[in-house]
Symmetry: C2
Subunit: 398 residues, 2 copies
């Protein structure tokens, strides 16, 4: 802020606004938008995967055939053919998802805000993974919950750790079972079954956030939690990773008795997601495009994931460990205890390499010697160069 702001009135901010702190990391990472920085920080999908021409054709077609439909106000619930498409896509293996369970959202981030609005009071207990998705913490925190970190290991949350004492009166458990942001880990089949059983028994409501499920590099998808308990799970999906994030299109699937509250909350929040972008997405995907398109995204990202794994193996000193994700966009690095990844970030940016420190992904006690690397934005040759520079900085700190 410039000096003149000193003369401005003080706004009487809400308690939640006073608690919103400017993220130091976000400020640092703004620097990384410089083209000379090798950034493993952002979760930006590779623009090479955006179907530009198809989107342009769809826009043209819609504005010729039915401009009023594309440009007028529309239903809060979303564009019905798109809702039907979502319901059909999730209705597999004997599971039936109804279009009335689907709500189109302005990105998955909005689904998190709507769930915060409808499920969280000040002090409500919210169960999260250790670590968990930073964007979910940001959304939920506006509604002032009390977070409880669920015990986890290399494969994600441990259902046996969800004891009645830990989970009593929890308003929700939030999890990303597939290639979690930030760790890249995937919840095994048996744990999915156990977790879904707990949801079915009414132990606590489960939010299954699944932005990365389609980005499965080994071709061995696991069933969603939703498929085990379609009336007891809220499932979040997005078109950001398989079509284009700038369209800001996500969706949620919820039991009808929660869905209608989410619709009311959405009406008060932004009336509806843009008619135009919803219809473009439907026009692009309605004839099976994603099934042709997603394999090419997988191939690209798998190569970049392998390149990062190879670079880490080649350059990192002993005492540094990481996982090899089977999908998604991120991997997670554990540094020796004495290395603080916040301090490392400052040094690293001076060397033209960026990443996200691990601490902000923890709801409560953070591990400072962790960091998240994205492998989807930077091409393989640059990945090796960036990891080499980062490894040198880490070596100097051990």
């Amino acid at each position: 802020m410039n000096p003149r702001d000193l003369s401005l009135p003080e706004w009487a901010l809400s308690e939640r606004a006073r608690k919103l702190t400017s993220s130091a990391i976000r400020e640092i990472l703004k620097i990384t938008e410089r083209p000379d920085v090798i950034s493993f920080a952002g979760g930006l999908p590779s623009p090479a995967t955006f179907p530009n021409e198809r989107i342009a054709q769809a826009a043209q077609r819609l504005l010729t055939a039915d401009p009023n439909g594309a440009l007028q106000y529309s239903a809060t619930e979303g564009y019905m053919p798109l809702r039907e498409w979502v319901a059909e896509r999730y209705s597999t293996g004997g599971v039936e998802i109804r279009p009335s369970q689907v709500l189109i959202t302005t990105g998955s981030q909005q689904a998190l805000d709507l769930l915060g609005k409808t499920l969280i009071d000040a002090g409500s207990k919210v169960l999260v993974e250790t670590p968990t998705y930073l964007g979910a913490l940001q959304s939920f925190s506006l509604y002032a919950p009390t977070y409880v970190q669920v015990p986890t290991d290399h494969a994600g949350l441990i259902p046996e750790g969800l004891t009645p004492e830990l989970t009593r009166d929890a308003r929700l458990l939030y999890a990303q079972p597939n290639f979690q942001n930030p760790t890249g880990r995937r919840l095994p089949l048996e744990r999915r079954e156990q977790l879904a059983a707990l949801a079915r028994e009414g132990a606590f409501p489960v939010i299954e956030d699944d932005p990365y499920g389609a980005l499965d590099y080994r071709g061995t998808p696991l069933p969603t939690l939703l498929s085990f308990a379609p009336e007891h799970i809220v499932h979040l999906g997005t078109f950001s990773k398989v079509l284009a994030p700038g369209l800001r299109l996500g969706y949620l699937i919820a039991p009808e008795n929660l869905h209608f509250k989410l619709v009311q909350a959405k009406q008060a929040t932004d009336l509806h997601t843009p008619s135009f972008t919803q219809r473009i997405a439907y026009d692009v995907i309605k004839d099976g495009f994603l099934d042709e398109h997603i394999p090419s995204i997988r191939t690209l990202y798998r190569e970049q994931c392998d390149a990062m794994h190879d670079a880490l193996a080649k350059h990192m000193p002993e005492g540094v460990t990481w996982n090899r994700p089977e999908g998604g966009m991120f991997l997670w690095v554990d540094l020796p205890e004495r290395v603080d990844s916040m301090e490392l970030l400052e040094a690293s940016i001076a060397e033209g390499v960026a990443f996200v420190p691990g601490a902000p992904f923890y709801a409560n006690e953070a591990r400072m010697n962790t960091l998240r690397l994205s492998f989807v934005t930077v091409p393989p040759a640059k990945i090796d160069e960036g990891i080499a520079r980062l490894a040198a900085l880490i070596r100097a700190r051990i």
Copy 2:
């Protein structure tokens, strides 16, 4: 809900979600989407005013020239050239608005949600007009304020009524000075000066919501509150009424020390408004298109406003009064005391005519013998027919 839902789990809803009630009016008005109903209910801009071809050309151009810009994640604050355009448009008559004060929102509705998030705690005093915009009540109510209705007359809120007792510790005053929804009334110049002076003196923060300012049918615009107190007013604008609502594009102008909190809240709410729609809007308007386009919208709506006024004068029985708005989309009807507009609506829909009863526009004590008519969606011939039917029903109730 169908019978099977009885077996569904009860969700532990937040207090705010439990208070969200399904609007009886909204359910009734769903019927009015039937093409055989003459609907004066919706605030739907006339599709005849949508610049379909320009939007299609812009979409084509953007996806050819810079697909990555249109389809990638982008800044929470909004597309900088669009923010600069807004700042420049409001920098007139010696007032300087900086792009750093502008935040692009997913429709004006989102600006209301973000203001609720940043300014309202449970029980906070919020001052509103009598009646006021229903959508603002819906947004703010999620944050559980205590509403105080400000004294008003045919010209809008009365600054003398804003006594220190009434306004003490108010978190905000919310007003639509131009052609208010629902009444169509416009705040006179002198009252604007008085209200802006109160804001400058720090009596309370003022939110100036201005969706209809451009729809001025007599060509006699009045200065915004913002222009009198650019560092003390939050101004909301929208492209929904002058371009197309299905793009869901609005903006707010706020002092920087509040703006940065609004940006943080928006990041947690939907990350950013779609890159694609923001760039389309900018491409369409950057060379002065709105200044050519808006006069044609004004001409169309003025004719429809006149047609409604004439139809009311021709058909309504004695004891029914209404205003003749100088702009906007709505006019407001006062019925004899004994007529309840909720009951009238049910009868009216059976006759194929819809409107919105006045009661939901009151924050506290409602006047049941009022209703809102929109004149922008229905062409003049149908306006006369619909008003004739409505008048017959009212006559039968006097």
